[in-house]
Amino acid sequence: MNSFTYTRAEAVEAAVREKSASDQVKFIAGGTNLLDLMKENIERPTRLIDINHLPLTQIEASPEGGLRLGALATNADTAWHPEVEKRYPLLSQAILAGASPQLRNMATNGGNLFQRTRCYYFYDLATPCNKREPGSGCSAIGGYNRILGILGTSESCIATHPSDMCVALAALAATVRVTGQNGERVVKFEDFHRLPGDTPQFDNTLQPDEIVTAIDLPAEDFSRNFSYLKLRDRTSYAFALVSVAAALQLDGNTIREGRLALGGVAHKPWRDQEAENMLRGQPATEDTFRRVAAKVVENARGYSHNTFKIELAKRAIVRALKQATEGQPVTEAFQNSNP
């Protein structure tokens, strides 16, 4: 770890002002990703601003009738919060499918959005990586890329976003509340993260002086028919090869509204609204789900080791939508415990 100075922010405005002084200044909340990257010498901030004392830990009703998740509420407190469990069980499931209990006790909701990719080459300082060192090249495209992206990739980068929580937030059409020196703004979840293009060093669309203060969940009810299906090399404590957040509102067997987002396949949580449109008004049958799944991977591209993900994603979408329809949303890890 490099040397750095440490300060503690007591107010959002002060934190924003201090951060804007230099792009070498970083906020630290849970620290689970940032400190790891600092130990690897990938992140080398000159100053850390500890934001843990900002008043952003609440989980409370939003003015729009939804739920507002404070940026500093931990992932564990969010997943186990009675209102989240009751109204947004898809989000609870996705959070609990990620990391370990210890990490979820530390990691915050805001921080979860800023997780950096787990691409091996991003972590390996001995190899070129456009995300870590712009212009140096991508080692993953011709390298060992089994875990990497198949959708929205570019010639510069095929990294994936590692979060489970964010996949559910994308499907639930959450919004992100952000404060900068110019005041507050609200960012749609699909506009928060970005595709790599030729500037993969930028994971998201936030300005350097901005801070996430809360995540808003809309009032819409997807608490009955939903599933977070996470496929990985072992059934606990591993990143997704492919994950699917599926949520349906059903009138009998007809889909009134459908939501679909994928993890482990792209530089951002991959919500496909065209595919969602194809669900609307259709019968909740395997036939419908297959057509929708084919649409989602229509423009997918496999690289040398990850082509299997295209078929895996298709099958996972069909299975997640079936589980959602049947009201059997079990994740892998808890399957044995639900007889």
């Binding site: 040397s3 750095f4 620290g31 689970t32 790891d36 850390l48 209990p101 210890q102 606990s236 415990s337």
Partner: protein, 174 residues
């Protein structure tokens, strides 16, 4: 004369480092006053500055769980937090759970069930299991397995670790 590393250049380098700061930590109920560089992790503060070497450094990257401690009753990886960030918190390490003459129920269960081989992961396993009990979410064996997945055991004592945790959980319910 060839260039060598000299004490003066070393001193110059040190002079450019940010200053250490006073950090007050409450560990196992006792207030400790330390003078730490900001990049000192809670794990390093415990082991290197307080001689609380029960907490182990395994991977130092939040993957193995050997460094698990309880902060305000919740289990965390002490390798992925800075000591200075934990001022004002109540930190419990394996040394604070029981004593040699008065083992905690989990410590006793780990002995009774032979829930270790080399023992290196054990303090982290026990602190993690204590966190699991505090959370009150795990009810079944499958749920204990899932909620203990942040603690690796290179010796593979998992089945006995599960029995030990299950016994204490069942005794709590009884």
């Amino acid at each position: 004369m060839p260039e060598t590393f000299t004490t003066s250049s070393g001193a110059a380098a040190n002079a450019s480092l940010p200053p250490t700061r006073a950090v007050k930590l409450r560990i196992n109920g006792v207030e400790k006053q330390l003078q730490l560089a900001p990049w000192t992790t809670l794990l390093d503060a415990l082991r290197e500055y307080l001689d609380l070497t029960g907490t182990k450094k395994g991977c130092d990257h939040g993957q193995c769980g050997a460094c698990t401690v309880l902060v305000d009753g919740k289990r965390i990886n002490s390798c992925l937090t800075l000591a200075v960030m934990k001022e004002g918190a109540d930190i419990t390490t394996i040394e604070g759970l029981g004593t040699e003459d008065n083992l905690s129920p989990l410590q006793q269960a780990f002995v009774d069930h032979d829930a270790f081989q080399c023992g290196y992961c054990t303090p982290g396993q026990i602190c993690s299991a204590q966190g699991l009990l505090n959370e009150g979410k795990a009810k079944t064996a499958a749920e204990i397995r899932e909620l203990m997945s942040g603690n690796l055991c290179r010796c593979g004592a998992y089945s006995n670790i599960l029995s030990a945790v299950q016994e204490v959980l069942d005794n709590q319910k009884a």
